[in-house]
């Protein structure tokens, strides 16, 4: 199964990156951990995200669209980075996540979310939809 692993933002991560010795050491530790994931065949993809000062939100209200510029409050609700892993089950994902070096100085949080699999979506896609070839990009339900 595939999971997405979210690293939650902190007040510190929202301030952006500065190459302090501590930050460099944390980077190296995370690299070593990812290397271990690669060697175990678990690693699929990963990326870090810039602070929310560079983010935009689009708010939907019926037909109305409002764009809201960052930064956003409540750092702990924001995502600072993510990884995608191929694991056997959630237990394995948790066991790997516990081995991850603390991604932030101080208290921080990682959240693991399993992807929807084909079997979960059987009720959402009609045979007509599937039989009609489409040309454009659509991505109705972006899933594994």
């Amino acid at each position: 199964m595939r999971v997405m692993v979210f690293v939650k933002a902190t007040e510190g991560s929202e301030k952006g990156l500065t190459p302090t010795p501590e930050a460099l050491a944390a980077f190296a530790a995370m690299d070593a951990f990812n290397e271990e994931l690669v060697k175990a065949g678990v690693f699929v993809a990963a990326a870090g995200l810039k602070p929310s000062i560079e983010a935009k939100r689009i708010v939907f209200e019926d037909a109305k669209r409002t764009v809201v510029d960052g930064p956003f409050a409540e750092a702990r609700e924001l995502v600072a980075g993510f990884s995608i892993w191929e694991v056997k089950d959630m237990d394995e994902a948790v066991a790997w996540a516990k081995r991850c070096p603390n991604p932030m100085p101080g208290r921080s949080e990682i959240e693991i979310r399993p992807f929807f699999e084909a079997a979960d979506l059987a009720g959402f896609v009609t045979p007509e939809e599937l039989s009609a070839p489409r040309s454009g990009e659509r991505g109705k339900l972006g899933v594994a």
């Binding site: 065949g41 237990d91 991505g139």
Partner: protein
């Protein structure tokens, strides 16, 4: 955390370490059974200790240390017994030297242990099905039950297959050393073959109700990524990974909710997995570069069979609409593939590609040339392709009987229904 949750967490940690543990112990004891037993003992020790002490910071090293102590004890006992039989006196010094040797041995590169285990499980003396079962058991850590489900067979069959394979390995006196140099290159195809066989078990079931069993396909990709990390310099390893990722990207699009297969040209490409496609294309670039470096030839000239197949899969992945598919390149790649690995199945696929570039009559001519091959006599895709060419050439009645012949041959219930529907559709309009 309840006691059972703690146990679950410990077992999950153990599963992560198991393959490396078994690999190191097998190389040391030269016995898979003993290695599995020692690893299991280490798990039992962890289940007793860790709830009290917490999970150690290096759980793999902890487990290995426990298993190692027990391995040394077992080896000493065995050495004593052997020597007693031979009536040779054992001095204290000799025993101590032996233990030191073992210490040094276990500090060796872990990746090497794992490679040694993979190459041993995939030894060419074993039948491909036995190699696949052993690799899934020892390297991927699947249970007998899970392997049986993957291969749609009984647990007893798999258990027997595993026992026989282990016996054969013991009898042949395999050392669990990874092959080196030219030997490594020579033995690599038997490893790649096994991983691709496992992938195909998941990707296209040859029989039964379920056309795709994505879980095994995922396991094969994981093995492929593992191998790519262990052998980063081998073009074909990356080629196989690229091939699996590019094919797996279509898993979600290739079956309708009613279970019927959807041909690649009709698939909803928005449902293709972009992440796998991107990963596959990256592996492809790596494989191409390594092939060019090794052969000194630019382009397809130096490509191995997996890389060539990955290139074909990439032609589909790169086309955002079916009409944009570069069939001319696919046909050329099949021309090359049949030189590298001649097989009737490759010939059939080549005929399909040529029919897309040069028309259905060209496809029919190529199929006629291979139809007599005994390997294709009961091969459903042959009449299915022929039926398709005939239909496109306007030969409806002949096409219909070809689709029916194909339906008679396939063991897959879904595919059968699909082929019969194609035959019936010709009836309705004609």
């Amino acid at each position: 955390m309840t006691e059972s949750e703690t146990h679950q967490a410990i077992e999950a940690t153990f599963r992560i370490e198991r393959a490396r543990l078994v690999a190191g112990l097998a190389r040391l004891t030269r016995s898979i059974d003993l290695a599995e037993e020692l690893a299991q003992d280490a798990l039992l020790a962890a289940l007793v200790e860790w709830p009290k002490t917490g999970v150690p910071s290096k759980p793999g090293a902890w487990l290995m240390a426990v298993a190692k102590r027990r391995a040394i004890d077992a080896l000493r006992r065995r050495a004593m017994r052997d020597r007693k039989h031979a009536e040779i006196a054992l001095t204290q010094n000799e025993a101590a030297d032996g233990a030191l040797e073992i210490e040094a041995f276990l500090d060796d590169d872990i990746g090497d242990d794992l490679l040694g285990l993979i190459f041993t499980a995939c030894d060419p003396m074993l039948a491909a099905a036995a190699r696949a079962a052993l690799t899934l058991r020892l390297v991927a850590g699947l249970t007998t039950h899970e392997i049986a489900r993957a291969f749609l067979t009984s647990e007893a069959t798999i258990a027997q297959r595993l026992v026989r394979a282990k016996k054969a390995i013991a009898k042949a006196g395999l050392t669990f050393e990874p092959p080196r140099g030219a030997q490594r290159t020579a033995r690599l195809p038997s490893v790649l073959e096994v991983i691709y066989l496992i992938f195909n078990e998941g990707y296209a079931a040859t029989s039964g109700e379920e056309l795709t069993r994505p879980i095994v396909a995922g396991e094969a990709q994981r093995l492929g990524r593992l191998l790519a990390a262990l052998m980063p310099g081998e073009s074909e390893v990356h080629g196989l990974l690229a091939l699996m990722e590019l094919q797996a990207s279509r898993l979600m699009a290739r079956t309708a909710p009613d279970g019927n297969p959807i041909p690649i040209t009709n698939q909803d490409r928005a449902r293709w997995d972009r992440l796998l496609i991107e990963g596959g294309l990256q592996s492809l670039v790596r494989a191409e570069r390594l092939a060019a470096e090794k052969s000194g030839v630019a382009g397809e000239g130096g490509f191995g069979p997996y890389l060539l197949q990955a290139e074909i899969a990439a032609c589909h992945a790169r086309a955002s609409r079916a009409e944009e598919t570069d069939w001319a390149r696919i046909a050329a790649l099949y021309d090359r593939l049949r030189e590298v690995t001649p097989s009737p199945v490759v010939e059939l696929n080549r005929a399909i590609a040529h029919s897309m570039v040069f028309g259905p009559e060209a496809g029919l001519r190529l199929i006629d040339a291979i139809a007599a091959d005994p390997a294709l006599r009961a091969y459903a895709p042959l009449p299915a392709a022929r039926g398709d060419f005939m239909m496109r050439a306007g030969r409806r009645a002949e096409a219909q009987s070809q689709f029916r012949a194909a339906a008679d041959l396939t063991r897959n219930a879904r595919e059968k229904a699909f082929l019969l529907a194609r035959a019936a559709a010709l009836d309705a309009v004609g």
